[in-house]
């Protein structure tokens, strides 16, 4: 049917690694191949990459996983924080109405399915950067502006976080109509994923701010551990564990059409590392209410200790699920703080008010950015993000 130079069809069942005619898609050989190559590149010290089948290739270590994008909830809420994260807020263009928002969410759904399974997004001009098993999660949320543009009623308790006495909020880190929380085991895959998502949003929305963070949730032997913030504090000890009833009660909304959704508050918390470092260890531990070496709660934390004020017992039982990522830039260091809860008004705000009123750590920490979003319910294969909220009718 074709001339001899016609591109050959892909090898059946073996899409394999990036090549002239194929991009790596679900080829398990391709996955293993790239992982080995990555390990080799990390240890070869400038030597050429080991070729396929090279018996000198080190065994793959530290493989990541593929986090299936499907489910009742978007999976990135409950997965542990991997090494790197970017949180991107976007603002809708004036013409983006409910229908257009649906088109954007369908495009993003395709992107999420592709990127999280190690495939290039449709139309990607750098398909080789879509790495498999990258611990990649992409979590999508709607801010107040998107709810308004689409004529959606917000879930109960979704409100703007009121100003706090210690806040020094900057517009450049605050607000936004949409949010993407993209997390991965390494930065190249992460940056590529963010670029594809933001690029595909161009007809509908523009990037408002973009915050990067990093986290070490793994000890030297590769075992999970609770990571530390840049004050050296074990951070997240008291956060409900995914899979527990407490976690589920804390984060998930059970109110149609938002069933399976949650809310996210993003706070950029600047931390004064220099003045913190002037404190003696006992004063640091007293301010936190925990020991610094293990993060264990002090037997009798003082009335202004952070761990006491943030505790549910001090907040009428209110809890949040917290995820942190550190940031360090040219002029500032701190914590990119993400709080998940079913109700901003019922959970985040009272805890934040307690802390704002008395937390000893306020001396060294300052919120310089704040934004809140409704994290959309999850989607199943064949469905799209937000279909249950925006209506699942066929477009057009």
């Amino acid at each position: 049917m074709s001339g001899p130079e016609t591109p050959a069809p892909a090898e059946p069942g073996k899409p394999g690694k990036p090549g002239k005619h194929g991009i790596g898609r679900r080829g398990f050989l391709g996955y293993v191949g790239s992982a080995v190559a990555g390990a080799a590149a990390g240890t070869a010290g400038g030597a050429a990459w080991a070729g396929d089948g090279d018996s000198e290739s080190p065994a793959p270590v530290g493989l990541g996983t593929e986090v299936a994008p499907y489910g009742v909830h978007q999976p990135g809420v409950a997965t542990p924080m991997p090494a790197v994260v970017e949180v991107v807020a976007l603002d809708l263009l004036p013409d983006t109405d409910r229908d257009a928002l649906g088109r954007l969410l369908r495009v993003w759904t395709g992107d999420v399915e592709a990127l999280t399974t190690g495939r290039a997004t449709p139309g990607d001009t750098e398909p080789w950067l879509a790495a498999a098993r990258a611990d990649l999660t992409i979590t999508v949320g709607l801010g107040p502006g998107a709810l308004a543009a689409a004529g959606l009623d917000a879930p109960t308790g979704f409100e703007a976080v009121p100003p706090m006495r210690h806040d020094r909020l900057q517009p450049r880190w605050s607000g936004g109509d949409l949010v993407l929380v993209v997390a991965a085991r390494e930065g190249t895959t992460l940056a590529h994923a963010v670029r594809q998502l933001v690029r595909d949003a161009v007809p509908f929305a523009r990037q408002r701010w973009r915050q990067s963070g990093f986290w070490n949730g793994t000890d030297a032997d590769g075992r999970p551990m609770t990571g530390r913030n840049l004050f050296g504090q074990v951070d997240g000890t008291a956060s409900p564990r995914p899979g527990s009833a407490t976690f589920d009660e804390t984060v998930w909304i059970r109110e149609p059409p938002w069933t399976g959704a949650t809310t996210l508050v993003v706070r950029r918390i600047s931390m004064d590392l220099d003045t913190w470092a002037e404190l003696t260890r006992d004063r640091q531990e007293a301010a936190l209410g925990r020991t610094l070496d293990t993060g264990e709660r002090l037997s009798d934390p003082g009335p202004r200790a952070h761990a006491r004020l943030a505790h549910p017992m001090e907040n009428a039982g209110a809890r949040i699920v917290r995820k942190g990522a550190n940031y360090a830039t040219e002029d500032d260091s701190g914590l990119l703080f993400m709080s998940f809860q079913a109700s901003v008004a019922g959970q985040f705000v009272p805890i934040q008010r307690s802390l704002d009123r008395a937390d000893s750590l306020n001396t060294w920490t300052t919120a310089i950015g704040s934004a809140e979003f409704v994290v959309l319910p999850g989607f199943e294969r064949g469905d799209w993000l937000g279909s249950g909220v925006l209506g699942s009718g066929t477009p057009g």
């Binding site: 499907y70 395709g110 001009t125 066929t394």
Partner: protein, 182 residues
């Protein structure tokens, strides 16, 4: 008709001629528990990752390419034989081929074969659906319906997002072939 071959609710199988075979064996053998239950439904032909190149600002806004992935999860080879779209007065299946030392784009002779158990990429620089005599401008953010007909009688309808494609215009039209001879 309920549609197990669909990628999304807006992807519809109009005439599924291939019986759905519940044969999950073999799909779970990757040793990764986090892998989705099935990469593609068994016993069916499916379309994934469809997209259409925007025409806004292009040299010739009367034509563009549609790209997608065909997965053939059946035991028989199938041939993608026809394509159509409400936005196009004409649609053809095209390939790139080297003729007298030059890459040219031309209509396939008899369609695009997708082998049993295999997949086929339709992508810039290779096989693609050529949408011609476009009735409207296609802007990034639009959605386009595509209907694809296969040799086994299956007809799949998909909704493809229109995306900007930033590679040099005419990328999938090799030099000297802009007229296509159509």
């Amino acid at each position: 008709m309920l549609n197990t071959a669909a990628r999304r609710p807006w992807t519809r199988t109009l005439l599924p001629a291939v019986a759905l075979v519940v044969a999950l064996a073999g799909l779970a053998g990757c040793g990764d528990e986090a892998e989705p239950a099935a990469a593609a439904e068994p016993g069916t032909v499916t379309i994934e990752d469809p997209w259409v190149r925007a025409t806004v600002g292009s040299e010739d806004p009367t034509m563009t390419g549609a790209f997608l992935v065909v997965d053939n999860n059946t035991d028989e080879d199938v041939t993608l034989e026809t394509a159509s779209s409400p936005v196009a007065g004409m649609a053809q299946l095209h390939e790139m081929a080297k003729v007298d030392g030059e890459m040219v784009m031309r209509e396939t002779d008899g369609g695009i074969v997708v082998r049993a158990g295999g997949g086929q990429l339709l992508q810039p620089g290779g096989y693609h659906v050529m949408l011609m005599k476009l009735k409207q401008e296609l802007a990034p953010g639009d959605e386009v319906e595509l209907t694809l007909g296969f040799s086994d009688g299956t007809t799949l309808e998909v909704t493809a997002p229109v995306k900007e494609f930033t590679e040099e215009a005419g990328h999938y039209h090799s030099p000297g072939t802009a007229e296509h001879g159509h």
